[in-house]
Symmetry: C2
Amino acid sequence: MRTVTKDTITDVFLGYIGQDTDPRFKQVMTSLVTHLHDFAREVDLTHDEWRQALQFFMWTGNITTEERNEFVLLSDVMGLSSLVDMINSHPGGTSSSVLGPFHISDAPALAIGGDMKGDVEGDLVLWQGVVKDATGTPIKGATVDIWQTAPNGMYSSQDPDQDKFSFHAILTTGADGRYAFTTVRPVSYTVPTDGPVGVILNAAGRHPWRPSHLHFIAKAAGYRELVTEVFPDDDPYLNEDTVFGVREDLVVTFVPQPAGSFPSGFDLSGKVSGPYARVDFDLVLVAV
Amino acid sequence: MRTVTKDTITDVFLGYIGQDTDPRFKQVMTSLVTHLHDFAREVDLTHDEWRQALQFFMWTGNITTEERNEFVLLSDVMGLSSLVDMINSHPGGTSSSVLGPFHISDAPALAIGGDMKGDVEGDLVLWQGVVKDATGTPIKGATVDIWQTAPNGMYSSQDPDQDKFSFHAILTTGADGRYAFTTVRPVSYTVPTDGPVGVILNAAGRHPWRPSHLHFIAKAAGYRELVTEVFPDDDPYLNEDTVFGVREDLVVTFVPQPAGSFPSGFDLSGKVSGPYARVDFDLVLVAV
């Protein structure tokens, strides 16, 4: 090994890996380090750039807390999170999309037809659909975990003026597989730009905007968990999501409904006289 | 961009990079993200593995302090640090090698022939050489910053029983370019294994040992700074340095010298009656 050179170091590294190493670990490490070394050789990485990269990772570590995970955000804006989603997607089901950092576990239960809007100012949306399998059969007892921004562009965890579970809820389907609720229209927002990821976006001449969306996690016994997001088709950032989360089957139309047409079967039935928007979106789960 | 897929996401990412982006930043980012995406596709990276990687980076960030930089250590054991050294090496000069995390700035000056051993138990070494340019001309006024482990395998910054600058010194050459000092023989040691890097080494079936060495930073006006290490040729880990630091021209023989042969011109002259080892090692600097 004394004769390690820039052209042999990758083989030397691979030669260090023990015979009894877990085959998957060996496969991942071999590919990772080969690409890492090829990258450094390809660009003739300088000492200054290497030091800057280490400083960048130290800063990313320093700024990361329970509430803010800058490593996840870095993976998001590099396209890695979405790529992993797509690599692991299950044909026949609704596309998955990034979880993001704002999910809160154990949101309160909301009955079918329940309301998340409350007194909040914003455009009323009636959202409904069916959780079903790939053959179209409704799934009973599926849970649909929903979260979104308030109209001010902030999730509850970012906003001291919101309750902890504001715009977070979990619905459970009945025999018809149907879920339905009312809410406000979500808004476009920027990922945090006051840290290392902001520096990268700025250096690359990229904006930090995400198109507006609702998040969903759908679960049912015997089916693969689906983590996804759904986007309105008229959002200005739809074609340039900074975290690469948009998939064609996750784009929906918020269909305007005339005043006086609000249906029965909702918490707000009888209380809404003006116009609203309606979204129909089915969630298709893939069997395990 | 709505039709982003696992096969198009890399091009979508590259398309996000602005026209006015610094060309070098664009080149580095293009290569880095292309390799990152190719890696994920090549191994079909799973969500669990992605989450483990993020946890790994969070842990690496948490354990990193002013005194312990786990990101540098990770770069070292992945071979990236040594690869960057070799990519940026200057033909005609002494090879560079990893800086490592134990250098302390502003070590005290030591006169030519000075002693670093003091009262410490260990094998006495007389070390000398010439700082010269690629044509062999001695360089006057070059500084040679030296640091090494004590015989217990610890650098001063790791060891509360050592003074801050124990086994750290800076020599300055005269007109003959010569530097010379006495010290103890350094010892093999392990990189820290109680953190994320230890987990990686263990999973890969790798040991954490580095062959013994002395560190040098040589500087002189008009020449490129040389950061390097020098290794005894009889160290058992010479051919399997866990951070890939060994280069053929950095390996020296510790030549045994008989009792009664200690020369004049050293702080210890007249005080050493037993055997010792002698190393001759010239440092060749490349002009800027």
